[in-house]
Symmetry: C2
Subunit: 331 residues, 2 copies
């Protein structure tokens, strides 16, 4: 059997309550007593049982993190931001991959709640009514990270994807292009839908229509970018500028274009999205929309700590600034 608080109390000739106070840094303990208790804790190698503590105090200092896919660079960077701030506030994270699968997402929320997490950071895409119901009835606070809930009923941290999409497209237009294309994922996540809307808005300003010929829907992978080029350049109206919904797609797009014997940016300009480390790891280096990924995670976690501590929150739907970095894939 393990050493318990009771063993320490007996050895140190004090009550469990006193040991508990020492362990929790309660100031109402005489220095001499504290020292004595600390000494026997050391001697016995006592390690507090967080589960028992959690049951008694109803706080586990653990938060749930539901993430589409940790092996995706975008999300792993986000997760890092979450964990760093969690750590700073003495929380640990239970991390689970959802693969954007709705049933799994719902199941994970419930598992997390069963495990009595003190809060949840949620990342996903399509939010169904079922999601919203879970969010709203949750006994602990939930914060959405890089996940849009149109009615802003749930606390969240995002950037303005539509505006960002508009700006990225506008940059291309300002460089003189009229044949633009947008390459995105198949089932557009809400964020990608917003980027899409920004794209459409910018095109409308120059009276260009948007249809199947200039929007390619694949997945969010490098391979998909490659395929997009095949498809897009197989048409009579070939694009001269491409806006990709992620850096990884952009990378595929650039290589696809190069494989066609064309030059980026001379023949075709390309702009990505996310500014993952990938952006610098390609030639030409990638112009892209900087989404402060790490910060989104960090701010989401910080926001969650406020809710968990029942602190006053002035703004529950945080929009972080984005910017566009021009590198060599655009002129």
């Amino acid at each position: 059997m393990n050493v318990t608080i009771y063993d320490v109390a007996r050895e140190a000739n004090v009550s469990m309550a006193t040991v508990s106070r020492v362990v929790n840094g309660n100031p109402n303990v005489k220095p001499a007593t504290r020292k004595k208790v600390l000494k026997t804790i050391e001697e016995l190698g006592y390690r507090p049982n967080a589960v028992a503590r959690g049951l008694a105090s109803k706080r586990t200092t653990t938060v749930g993190v539901i993430i589409p896919d940790i092996s995706n660079m975008f999300f792993s960077e986000l997760a890092r931001g979450i964990d760093d701030i969690a750590n700073m506030y003495k929380y640990n994270i239970i991390l689970s991959n959802s693969d954007q699968n709705i049933d799994k997402e719902i199941k994970l929320i419930n598992t997390m709640l069963e495990k009595q997490v003190d809060g949840i950071v949620y990342m996903g895409s399509r939010l169904t009514d079922e999601h919203l119901k879970e969010f709203k009835t949750s006994p602990v606070p939930i914060v959405l990270a890089a996940t849009i809930e149109p009615t802003n009923a749930i606390p969240s941290v995002n950037i303005d994807y539509e505006e960002a999409g508009y700006e990225a497209t506008k940059l291309l237009i300002d460089n003189g292009h009229t044949k633009l294309a947008f390459v995105t994922g198949l089932d557009e996540t809400t964020a990608n839908k917003a980027k899409h809307q920004g794209f459409v808005q910018a095109l409308e300003e120059i009276e260009q229509t948007v249809d199947q010929t200039n929007v390619f829907r694949g997945d969010l992978s490098y391979q998909s970018g490659l395929k997009a080029v095949e498809s897009l350049f197989d048409q009579t109206e070939k694009p001269t500028a491409i806006f990709a919904a992620s850096d990884e797609i952009a990378l595929g797009v650039i290589h696809g274009i190069q494989d066609l014997g064309l030059n980026v940016p001379a023949d075709v300009e390309v702009i990505g999205f996310d500014n993952t480390r990938l952006a610098m790891m390609i030639r030409p280096t990638l112009s892209t929309v900087v989404q402060p990924v790490y910060d989104i995670g960090a701010v989401a976690m910080r926001l969650l700590t406020k809710y968990m501590n029942k602190e006053e929150v002035e703004e529950s739907n945080v929009i972080l600034p984005h910017q566009i970095i021009k590198r060599s894939s655009t002129k």
Copy 2:
């Protein structure tokens, strides 16, 4: 107050024990009773409290995962393997980043143990005596993933890094090179040290010496690969073939070489390590050592489940096969 097992028992006119049996799928319950209990569980919206369960049963169905940096592609892929198998066996993971910082690693092990995890998957580099002491005195099983403990005293899952390093170098040598260089991290992790040894061994066979002129120690980043080229090609004896300890380094090396106006592989051949997705995202595509990263995580977690279930384990230090994929960065 939340709905407890007691509330369900009262409403359903059965004892807590019966409710517990139903919840845990114990077959010793009359179907009619089960149905009745299930119904009131539904009605009351009862959600079992895993913390209370953990305290009573001494099992939390949670495992700790200590990882250097989840935002690093290599580790995030590993983590994905771990989580998938964990999920399959109904475990959740508490994930924490250590940044390879020894104090933090030790502290994390203790935090995990306080939280009563049922086991730990550990990834790190240098293992000190203090690490080993913690591993050996841990009340729950610990498995090392992609982490070498030279005496094999702790269960682990790895590939044969030395052999892999040897083979990678040999490939370069067989292509006719005598001026080879190895680019690695600063404080060599045990795995990188093994790669290094393989490099040395291969060079010894062609009677080439290894010194500062052909080993560059930076960190494991893209930038470091760039710097390595600067340094390596600033010497009179310039290498004609480079073995990089990771794909990300290799990417930097290739771009550094290209920036010098040289061609890969015509002027300099490059081979990487890990076969992360990056390997395909570069031109020329990267020849690299395939380390089954996802599998290492998956197998480590699987091994851990065996220990947690006190199953018989035939081999506690698993060596997974590696291979070398030749792409376009070598001839």
